[in-house]
Chain length 355, copies 2
């Protein structure tokens, strides 16, 4: 396949399901659009990229994704501005990161041309599905999984790359309260924590259920050695504001290099907010809460955007965060969404037109 001239054929649905959807009350990630992009890796190359009606996938029971969790994904969003123009936010960063994940999971990398042309063709096909109600957007889920067969614990010989889209409302409903984890862990040094690998998420579900049973919505993961440093929250990176200083953990082979995370760091620099990217001790958080210098805690991610955290739990105690006017979280949220929805200038070149 000549990648410089990749053309994506489109097979359209006979009847759109769009009229069945209430676009003013969208859940997160449950409604899907009419079409999906699909491409198959077989005989050593990615083949047959196309947009087809959204449809079930048929797989052999020995497909390796079922047994060895060989699967990676990305999370992105498309936004429609008041003139009906469609925008993405830093999509090439997602494309690059998908291939960083692919390499670590022994999955063949997806050529940039296939990713970008497939994405654009799908978005143009389903552009009427992009919601415009406040706080809603089209959540985009590119994913690659091992569709090749066999019970031997080794990489597959066939992979499937799909992009699906879901018109979605907010990821969190209501206030977000987190528990700082003291028992379970998300990632190992030298492991796959930096990748958007399926297995990273499955391993978080049980500890998150335990936290939810105690009234929290998310877990803030800590290092697996001594649970001494905060890392990330699985669905989002974590930011801390102590006094007027913004802190976040450095990325590593345990922590995802979030697109929203790095956008916030750049906005903070742009606005002259003092920032420290360094390991953050749980102890430091607790002490700052106790002496009144802990002003904010918030999560940042594509799905969660910027989500203020109202309290955190640690060693059986709950620490409340103050309810600030004009918080960093609300400032960053406004600046990022204004760029995403084309309501403000984009000095960093983050907005990407779909045309």
């Amino acid at each position: 396949m000549d990648l410089s001239t990749v053309q994506i054929p489109v097979e359209r649905v006979a009847h759109s399901k769009r009229s069945e959807v209430d676009f003013n009350h969208l859940p997160f990630g449950k409604v899907v659009t009419d079409h999906m992009f699909i491409c198959t890796f077989r005989d050593g190359s990615w083949q047959d990229p196309r947009v087809v009606p959204y449809q079930p996938i048929s797989l052999d029971p020995s497909a390796k994704v079922f047994h060895y969790g060989q699967t990676i994904f990305e999370g992105m969003k498309a936004y429609k501005d008041t003139e009906g123009k469609v925008w993405l936010f830093r999509p090439e960063d997602n494309q690059r990161r998908l291939n960083i994940s692919a390499k670590r999971l022994a999955i063949p990398e997806v050529p940039k041309e296939i990713f970008m042309e497939g994405l654009k063709t799908l978005l143009k096909t389903d552009q009427d599905w992009i919601p415009t109600a406040p706080g809603s957007s089209l959540y985009i889920r590119p994913f690659v999984f091992a569709s090749g067969k066999g019970f031997h614990a080794s990489p597959a010989d066939e992979y499937t790359f799909i992009i699906a889209c879901s018109p979605s409302g907010p990821y969190f409903s209501g206030k977000v309260s987190v528990r700082i984890e003291e028992t379970y862990s998300r990632a190992a040094d030298g492991g796959v924590g930096f990748a958007k690998a399926g297995g990273n998420y499955a391993g978080q579900f049980y500890p998150t259920q335990l936290a939810m049973a105690d009234g929290f919505q998310q877990v803030v993961w800590t290092d697996d050695h001594h649970h001494e440093f905060i890392e990330e929250a699985g669905a989002m990176n974590i930011f801390v504001r102590i006094g007027n200083t913004l802190l976040t953990s450095p990325t590593s082979d345990r922590i995802l290099d979030g697109v929203t995370r790095k956008s916030i760091l750049q906005l903070a620099e742009d606005e002259g907010i003092p920032t420290e990217v360094r390991k953050i001790r749980v102890r430091e958080l607790v002490e700052a809460s106790q002496n009144g210098t802990l002003k904010e805690l918030f999560g940042a991610g594509t799905a969660a955007v910027v989500s203020p955290i109202s309290s955190f739990g640690y060693q059986g105690k709950r620490y409340e965060l103050p309810d600030l006017e004009n918080s960093y979280a609300s400032q960053f949220r406004k600046r990022i969404t204004d760029i995403q929805y084309n309501r403000a200038k984009d000095p960093f070149g983050w907005r990407f037109p779909v045309e």
Copy 2:
């Protein structure tokens, strides 16, 4: 469903594929039998257990297994003795362990009755597929995966439990050489290393590819803190013989509690072999190799049975193991397979008749 009287209906294939298979030259895990067992968790309970023709699975692209790696499995084998009787090896241990994995991965546990009756019904249906050539057996793969839909990173509301079977030859062909890992890691403290979770395997593929490029077949994983202690090999637990003492690492939340591993420990006790279950330093292995006391290194697992290791690599050096007559590995392999194939007495009650 009344579990005490669970009946498994069987839908048979119209035409068996059995005559197409060369039972004297079986690969590992590539050939599948005519039927499979399937059962679905939905609306809060496991439903509709049945044996059906082996067939593709149809899933929504948003099925959570594709995104969050929420999947677990077991590995078992069925053996046919010279009189045509069919045996399993400690199957209730696999059933128990599947549910230990299930709990950690937030997957609903499979009732013992469904697991055991489903397994027995399937094996009776496909008993003509159990190979009898030396070194071959019917590899059995029970697995449970999240078939429920949605892009929200949370546990699914539907799961599928399948048992598939593959008449198989040996897992390894030829000598096995391992590399002791110094960079990558398999498991975190507080993670899912003790579970047979899909994600544990996907994360091993890339480091294993790197090792294979350097002439090794498997990686021996070490702790993620300092790569100081040997843990397990992903597809098998690791045993070391220094002098006449047998050593293996203790199980933990990082190391799988292997059925073959614990069977070997019991055989060693039975035979009066001095045994130490304790953390083993890589340094100790290297020193024992250098001073000539390192006699054996072998892997143990259902697929690999007992696999002698001919050399190990560490810090760019390769250490050869001696080629012993009457090695522990060969003794254990003989004792275990003699019990499995009903060629010897079974003092421990490990053999389980399928009838």
